[in-house]
C-alpha cells in the first residue's frame, strides 16, 4: 500500500517565498518597483538603546511640577534671525504633489499649535501651508520645481536639499498618476506624464560651489533667514564637515529609515546608513570642528516615539524631524472597516500599505484626487498632528526628568547604554553592564 508523501518545506533564507515572488514579478513587469515609505527591513535603531535613569547616584525630577524645558533655538550662526521652536521636534519636508493641500494644511495647523515648524517639499510652497504654518522652512531641491524668489522671501528658513535618507544620490522617476492639473502647474510639467527627477542641482556641484550658492541665497534674503543643508546619511562624518565649511547654519541628516512618497524599492532598502549611525557620526564631525551647538543638527529618518526623540537628543542632536510618522498620525494605514475595500483595491491591507505612488491613498493623504481627498479633514487631522507632537513631547520630558534633566537638551550620551553589540559599536555607547564598546 502506498503511503501519502509528506510535504516537506525546507526553509530557504536565500530564496524565500517573498524573493521567489519578487523575481517572478520582475519577470512580468520589466522595471523596478516604485513605492512609498522608508526601509522596512530590520536594522539597528534607537530601540537597541536604553536609558540609565536615576537611582542612588542620580536624582530624578518630579513629573509635571519640576520644570523640564523644551525650548530650542537654532540657525543663528551667521547672524540670521534664528528659528525659535517650542519643542525640538519638527515636521520634515514632504511635497505638495506627494501630499494634497489638505494634508499640508493639517500639518501646518498641528505644528503651529505646538510652536514648531513644517517644511515644504519637492514642488514648492502652497499659500495654504504658508498660512497655516507659523514657522515654514522652504526647500531648494535639485529639480527646483516651483522654486521662486517671492516664496523664498516668505520663508522662515531655506533648506538646500542634497539628498534624503530613502534615496541618497537617487533621482529616478515618478509615474504620471499624481501629476494633477494643480501639481503640473506648480511644477511646470504636462499633466499625467512620468516625472523624471534630477539627482544633482542644476547650477552647482560640490561643497566648494555650495559656498557660493549659499551666499546667493543669503543675498536674496538679506541674510535674515537661516540656511539649512539636508543630506541623506551615507559618509555622514565627512559630509557634515563639508556642509559646515560650505557655510550651513543648520545641517539636516536623514537616515536610511527615512520615507519618501515614491522611489525605487532598491534605493529605499539598499542605500544609506541607519539613523543611529548617522547621528553619532554627525555629532563627531561637529565636535571635531569645534562647531557643536554652533552649527545645529537636525536628525530624521524613522523617528517614531518620544523615546526615539530622547535618545537622538541624548546622542547630541539639537532637533529631530518627522515625516512618515506624521502621516501615520493623520490616518495613513489606519484600520477602519470603511477603508478595507480601498486597501484591497491596491492589493494590500491596513498596516501594510505603501502605495503612496498610486495617488489612491485610502486615508486621503497622498493623493491629488479631489474625491479621495475629502476623506481628510484638515481640522481633525491637524488636531491629530498636535496630539501626536504633544505625546512625543511629554514622553521626551518624562524620560529627561527621570534622568534628572531640567532641560531636554541636557540629555547626554552617558545617559544611555546599548542593548546589543551592534548598537554599541555603531553608537559608540557601552554595552549594558560594561564600560566597553567595540573599537574602544
Amino acid at each position: 500500500m502506498t503511503q501519502k508523501k509528506p510535504i516537506v518545506k525546507e526553509q530557504n533564507h536565500n530564496y524565500p517565498p517573498e524573493m521567489i515572488a519578487w523575481i517572478q514579478h520582475a519577470a512580468e513587469l520589466g522595471r523596478y518597483d516604485i513605492r512609498g515609505m522608508g526601509a522596512k527591513r530590520k536594522i539597528p535603531d534607537f530601540n537597541d538603546l536604553t536609558f540609565l535613569t536615576a537611582s542612588m547616584s542620580r536624582y530624578p525630577l518630579e513629573g509635571y511640577r519640576e520644570k523640564c524645558v523644551t525650548q530650542t533655538v537654532i540657525g543663528g550662526r551667521h547672524g540670521a534671525k534664528p528659528i525659535e521652536l517650542d519643542i525640538p521636534i519638527t515636521i520634515a519636508g514632504m511635497s505638495f504633489g506627494s501630499l494634497n493641500a489638505q494634508a499640508k494644511d493639517a500639518l501646518g495647523r498641528g505644528a503651529s499649535q505646538m510652536g514648531t515648524s513644517t517644511t515644504t517639499g519637492d514642488g514648492g510652497m502652497t499659500p495654504e501651508e504658508r498660512k497655516s504654518s507659523k514657522i515654514l522652512v522652504y526647500q531648494c531641491l535639485p529639480s527646483r520645481y516651483g522654486f521662486n524668489p517671492d516664496d523664498a522671501r516668505k520663508a522662515d528658513a531655506i533648506e538646500i536639499v542634497i539628498g534624503q535618507g530613502a534615496k541618497p544620490g537617487g533621482g529616478g522617476i515618478l509615474l504620471g498618476q499624481k501629476i494633477s492639473p494643480r501639481v503640473a502647474g506648480m511644477r511646470t510639467l504636462p499633466e499625467g506624464i512620468d516625472q523624471r527627477s534630477a539627482c544633482r542641482h542644476p547650477d552647482w556641484t560640490g561643497p566648494d560651489d555650495l559656498v557660493i550658492k549659499i551666499e546667493e541665497l543669503r543675498e536674496l534674503t538679506l541674510g535674515k533667514v537661516p540656511i539649512y543643508v539636508k543630506i541623506g546619511a551615507t559618509r555622514a562624518y565627512h559630509d557634515v564637515k563639508l556642509c559646515c565649511h560650505a557655510g550651513a547654519d543648520v545641517i539636516v541628516v536623514d537616515g536610511m529609515q527615512g520615507g519618501t512618497a515614491a522611489t525605487q524599492d532598491c534605493y529605499i532598502e539598499h542605500t544609506g546608513i541607519p539613523t543611529l549611525a548617522a547621528v553619532r557620526m554627525a555629532v563627531e564631525a561637529l565636535q571635531d570642528l569645534g562647531l557643536y551647538r554652533k552649527v545645529h543638527l537636525i536628525i530624521s529618518g524613522g523617528i517614531r516615539t518620544g523615546a526615539d526623540v530622547a535618545k537622538a537628543l541624548a546622542m547630541g542632536a539639537d532637533v529631530v524631524s518627522i515625516g512618515q510618522a506624521m502621516l501615520i498620525a493623520m490616518g495613513c494605514n489606519m484600520d477602519l472597516p470603511e477603508w478595507e475595500e480601498d486597501y484591497h483595491k491596491l492589493g494590500t491591507a491596513a498596516g501594510y500599505c505603501h502605495h503612496c505612488q498610486t495617488g489612491l491613498c485610502p486615508a486621503g493623504i497622498t493623493t491629488q484626487d479631489p474625491e479621495i481627498s475629502k476623506k481628510l479633514d484638515p481640522d481633525k487631522a491637524g488636531r491629530k498632528v498636535r496630539n501626536y507632537l504633544k505625546t512625543l513631547t511629554l514622553e521626551l520630558q518624562t524620560l529627561a526628568r527621570a534622568c534628572g534633566k531640567s532641560n531636554v537638551h541636557h540629555l547626554e550620551k552617558e545617559d544611555l547604554a546599548a542593548l546589543t553589540m551592534e548598537a554599541a559599536a555603531i553608537a559608540k555607547i557601552p554595552l549594558v553592564g560594561t564600560d566597553w564598546y567595540p573599537g574602544k
Binding site: 556641484t205 560640490g206 557660493i212 565649511h245
Partner: protein, 297 residues
C-alpha cells in the same frame, strides 16, 4: 573640493614676478579651500645630474642643521633652501636611495617631490598663512601650480594635500572627487607603485606616472585616465617646461583660462585672475570636457 590656480610664463623676462602675481590668485581661492594649501614651482634648475628633493618634517621647529650634518656623512648634498616645515636639498641621488635611508634614520620625514627643477611646499593652514610661511611672493620661476583644499573623504593633513608628485618633475592638482580610486590604487600597488596617503588625488598622480612609464605621452596618459576613472576631475599638471589642464566629460568642477602672449593663467574662478597684468586683453575661455590643453616652453 577645492580651488586650483596656476601661472605659466611663456617668456623668461617675467620670472622675477612669478610669486608676486601668484599669491593673490591663491588667496582668492580661500573660500573654496580653507583647510590647507600647496604649491609646486618650476624654473630654478639644480646642477645637471642632480635632483632637488622637497623634504617635509612634521615638527615646526625641526633642527634641520643636525639633519644636514648627518646626511652629509652619507652623501654630498647642498641646501637649496629651508622654509617652514620643508628643506629643499639637491644631490646626485635616486629617490629610492634617499627614501630607504630616511625610513631607517628619519622615519617622520616625507619626500614630497623630486625633480631637476620642481620644488613642492604643501602645508595645513589658510592660503594666506601658507603663502606667508613659505615666502611665496618672493618665488621666481616660470611655472607655479597651486591648490587650496577643503578635505572630502580623507583627513586634513599634509599628506592629504595637493600637489601630488609622482615621477621626476611631475605633479598634479585636482578639484573634484574620484569614485573608483580604491580599486585603481589596488591595481597600481599590485604593479609596484607605492602610496603615501589614502587620498584619491594621489591615485590619479601615480596613475599618470604609471602611464608615462608605460610609454604614453602626456596627452595619451590623460585620455586613458578619462576611460579608467569614474568621477569628477578638473586637473592641472606640471612637468619640466610643460603645463597642462583637463576636465572630465561632465565638467562639473569649474576652470577658467586666461591666455596672453606672455602668460597662461588658470583658476577655478575668474576673480582669482582679475588682478593680473593685461587681463583685460587676455583671451579668456574654459577648457571643454575631455579637451587636453598643453603649453610648452
Amino acid at each position: 573640493m577645492c580651488g586650483i590656480v596656476s601661472l605659466f610664463f611663456k617668456e623668461d623676462s617675467l620670472n622675477k614676478k612669478l610669486g608676486e602675481h601668484f599669491v593673490p590668485m591663491l588667496i582668492a581661492m580661500t573660500e573654496r579651500g580653507p583647510d590647507s594649501s600647496g604649491i609646486a614651482v618650476y624654473g630654478n634648475p639644480c646642477e645637471k645630474g642632480e635632483y632637488k628633493f622637497s623634504i617635509f618634517h612634521p615638527d615646526e621647529n625641526y633642527d634641520w642643521d643636525q639633519f644636514e650634518n648627518k646626511i652629509s656623512d652619507e652623501w654630498k648634498v647642498s641646501r637649496v633652501k629651508q622654509l617652514g616645515r620643508y628643506l629643499i636639498l639637491s644631490a646626485a641621488l635616486q629617490k629610492k636611495e634617499l627614501d630607504m635611508w630616511l625610513k631607517e634614520n628619519f622615519p617622520s620625514m616625507v619626500i614630497m617631490g623630486v625633480g631637476n627643477e620642481m620644488e613642492i611646499y604643501k602645508d595645513t593652514g589658510s592660503p594666506a598663512r601658507v603663502a606667508e610661511k613659505y615666502d611665496l611672493s618672493q618665488t621666481k620661476g616660470y611655472l607655479m601650480i597651486g591648490h587650496t583644499r577643503m578635505a572630502t573623504e580623507s583627513a586634513v593633513n599634509v599628506e592629504g594635500s595637493h600637489p601630488y608628485s609622482s615621477g621626476l618633475d611631475l605633479c598634479l592638482v585636482h578639484n573634484g572627487s574620484y569614485a573608483n580610486h580604491n580599486s585603481i590604487r589596488q591595481m597600481l600597488e599590485d604593479d609596484g607603485m607605492e602610496f603615501d596617503s589614502w587620498n584619491d588625488t594621489e591615485v590619479a598622480a601615480k596613475y599618470l606616472e604609471w602611464r608615462l612609464i608605460k610609454g604614453d605621452d602626456l596627452n595619451d596618459a590623460l585620455k586613458n585616465m578619462t576611460n579608467d576613472f569614474s568621477g569628477f576631475f578638473t586637473l592641472a599638471i606640471g612637468l619640466k617646461n610643460q603645463f597642462a589642464v583637463m576636465r572630465d566629460p561632465f565638467a562639473c568642477k569649474p576652470m577658467v583660462i586666461a591666455e596672453t602672449k606672455k602668460y597662461v593663467a588658470v583658476a577655478s574662478e575668474f576673480r582669482a585672475l582679475a588682478h593680473l597684468p593685461e587681463i583685460s586683453e587676455a583671451d579668456i575661455f574654459e577648457p571643454q570636457p575631455e579637451e587636453i590643453h598643453i603649453w610648452s616652453k
